[in-house]
């Protein structure tokens, strides 16, 4: 089986994101960029599946500007076999991303597509579900445990009510949650080796995909700030304050 893993280049999760003063976006110049952490978990899972012999090849893919090569190289250094960059001017909206991924699935014919449950930039949480819909494949979202057997996957999902287990026929789209695994660290020799691994570049024309966009970001603003309140000296004072406010 071949596994396709979708990576998105995002502002690193340790960066405290700030809105540009003119409200036209957030500041990304000179900011550290990384693989979306949920996607990193997806790649780690794909590598583990390959390492235990349930997959032969792991391919990392992304759609974005040329800079995203860096994140694909990191994916290769983690252990992916090859990479595909679909070069577009900016990271597409989820539905357009799903269209690109569908075209890649049609070319690559993987037995499973893995990606993070959401990207930590737009927090949309849509692309995996949309890809599954376009392919008419099963989807398992928010997965914290994944077991493969007999052409099926048992997926444990972190849902509001607890842990839900569903069974899906393969091929399927699986989106990963935080507790699925802990991604490995990349070692320096792997980074050197990754430079020799294949990284193909495609255009939307090559894939026959057209973007439809459809949503316009009118303005960006910082969130309303919550002011720090007061420090109390004792439990008794805390209880008094809460009683004053009618909260106890």
């Amino acid at each position: 089986m071949k596994i396709l893993v979708c990576l998105k280049r995002v502002v690193d999760y340790n960066v405290r994101v700030k809105v540009k003063p003119d409200g036209s976006g957030v500041i990304t110049d000179g900011v550290k960029m990384s693989i979306n952490p949920f996607d990193e978990i997806a790649l780690e899972e794909a590598l583990r599946i390959k390492e235990r012999g349930d997959a032969e090849e792991v391919v990392v893919v992304t759609a974005g500007p040329g800079d995203a090569r860096q994140q694909l190289r990191t994916g290769l250094a983690m252990g992916a076999d090859r990479a595909v960059l679909v070069k577009v001017d900016e990271a597409p909206l989820p539905l357009d991303a799903a269209r690109v991924l569908k075209a890649l699935v049609d070319r690559e014919e993987p037995g499973m597509v893995l990606m993070g449950k959401q990207a930590i930039d737009d927090d949309a949480n849509q692309t995996g579900q949309m890809l599954a819909a376009l392919l008419d494949w099963p989807q398992a979202t928010f997965v914290s445990k994944l077991e493969l057997a007999d052409g099926k996957a048992q997926c444990t999902r972190e849902v509001d009510a607890g842990l839900e287990t569903i069974e899906v026929d393969l091929p399927a789209v699986v989106t990963t949650d935080l507790r699925l695994n802990e991604p490995r660290y990349v070692k320096l020799p792997e980074i050197m080796k990754a430079k020799k691994k294949p990284l193909d570049e495609l255009t939307l024309d090559d894939l026959g995909v057209e973007f439809s966009g459809g949503l316009e970001a009118v303005k960006y603003e910082p969130p309303p700030k919550r002011e720090a309140g007061v420090k109390v000296e004792s439990v008794a004072e805390l209880v008094d304050k809460l009683k004053e406010k009618g909260l106890l």
Binding site: V11, R16, V17, K18, V19, V26, P94, L95, A98, I120, D121, D123, A124, N125, Q126, T127, G128, Q129, M130, A132, A133, W137, P138, Q139, A140, S144, Q154, E158, V159, D160, A161, G162, L163, E164, T165, I166, V168, D169, A172, L178, R179, S212, G214, L215, V218, E221, P222, P223, R226, A228, G229, V230, K231, V232, S234, V235, L238, V239, L247, L248
Partner: protein, 313 residues
């Protein structure tokens, strides 16, 4: 015409309060009509409950064996089939809505707006991005169906004085068999529901163990509060995942939130931004939680929590 369809969330027995919050959000769009669709094996009682929500015009009850356990793969094509004639289809931005709505949107060939937190007009919305570190105003085209999920913590629930008409509806959709429900492991609790409780007590990594977490439950019971936890406490195995409060867990808006032994990582703060009053108890006076707490107590939680419990007796 702004005609809104809301997909009800429920567990087969009870309507989830998130449904009423979607109604409030829908009403903010000044619509011509708001309908609620209830998909269930036996939707009668649920449809009845939905019909009482203030601001609902019609309730559509869709039955069928395949609606016994709601799965995105089986529900999305039914939503797509029912969407005809509506300008908007909304669902709560809970794990239910997040799972099914993008699938429905893609079947309908339209983009989705996730986590609607404010309505400017029927096609312009505010939503949080970057874990709530920025708010973006998004405009959708007026001539296309709009699919969206509603950030429930931003909206109050609709009242229950309504009397909408209920009608049974059959939906013509291909129901796939490639996805099957196996089980739901639910952590049973008699305490108030975390997502809707007016008081919440949460514990963090500083509790140190599952056994020590007991004092959080005891305090919560003394206050009649629901119990939550930070991601660190869940990762450490002190409590199950459904108790996680934060960006990737539950986003909540209780009147009173008590954070105990929680440092206040940005992803946790994202989940409690809309709380009325935040209380923090932490022995580290520099913990970021104090930057957002209305009342902060720098203290050893193992002393302060039992003392607080006693004071409430």
């Amino acid at each position: 015409m702004t005609r809104i369809l809301i997909i009800a969330e429920h567990d087969g027995n009870e309507l989830n309060p998130s449904t009423g919050k979607c109604v409030t959000c829908a009403r903010a769009m000044e619509p011509d009509s708001v309908d609620v669709a209830v998909f269930a094996a036996d939707p009668k009682a649920l449809a009845e409950a939905a019909s009482k929500l203030d601001g609902v015009d019609h309730v559509l009850a869709v039955d069928g064996e395949h609606n016994e356990h709601i799965l995105a793969a089986t529900l999305a094509p039914q939503i797509a089939a029912l969407a005809d004639g509506y300008s908007h289809v909304l669902a709560p931005s809970t794990t239910f809505g997040k799972d099914v709505m993008p699938r429905a949107a893609a079947l309908l060939g339209v983009p989705q707006i996730t986590d609607i937190m404010a309505v400017e007009d029927a096609h312009t919305f505010k939503r949080p991005i970057y874990a709530g570190n920025a708010i973006v105003t998004v405009k959708a085209p007026e001539d296309r169906l709009l699919v969206g999920t509603v950030r429930t913590a931003s909206w109050s629930a609709a009242g229950d004085g309504g009397s909408a008409e209920v009608s049974e509806r059959s939906v013509d959709a291909d129901i796939p068999s490639h996805t099957r429900f196996v089980k739901l492991d639910q952590h049973e609790s008699d305490r108030p529901d975390l997502q809707t409780a007016s008081r919440v007590v949460s514990g963090g990594r500083a509790l140190g163990s599952e056994e020590n977490f007991e004092i959080i439950y005891e305090l919560a019971d003394a206050m009649g509060a629901a119990v939550g936890a930070s991601r660190a406490a869940v990762d450490a195995g002190y409590v199950p995942n459904d108790m996680q409060v934060g960006q990737t867990g539950k986003i909540i808006a209780p009147e009173l939130y008590v954070a105990i032994g929680i440092s206040g990582a940005i992803q946790h703060l994202t989940g409690i931004k809309d709380a009325g009053t935040i209380v923090a108890i932490n022995k580290d006076e520099d913990a970021p939680i104090f930057e957002v707490a209305d009342f902060g107590l720098v203290a050893d939680l193992f002393k302060a929590v039992p003392e607080l419990k006693e004071a409430l007796k």
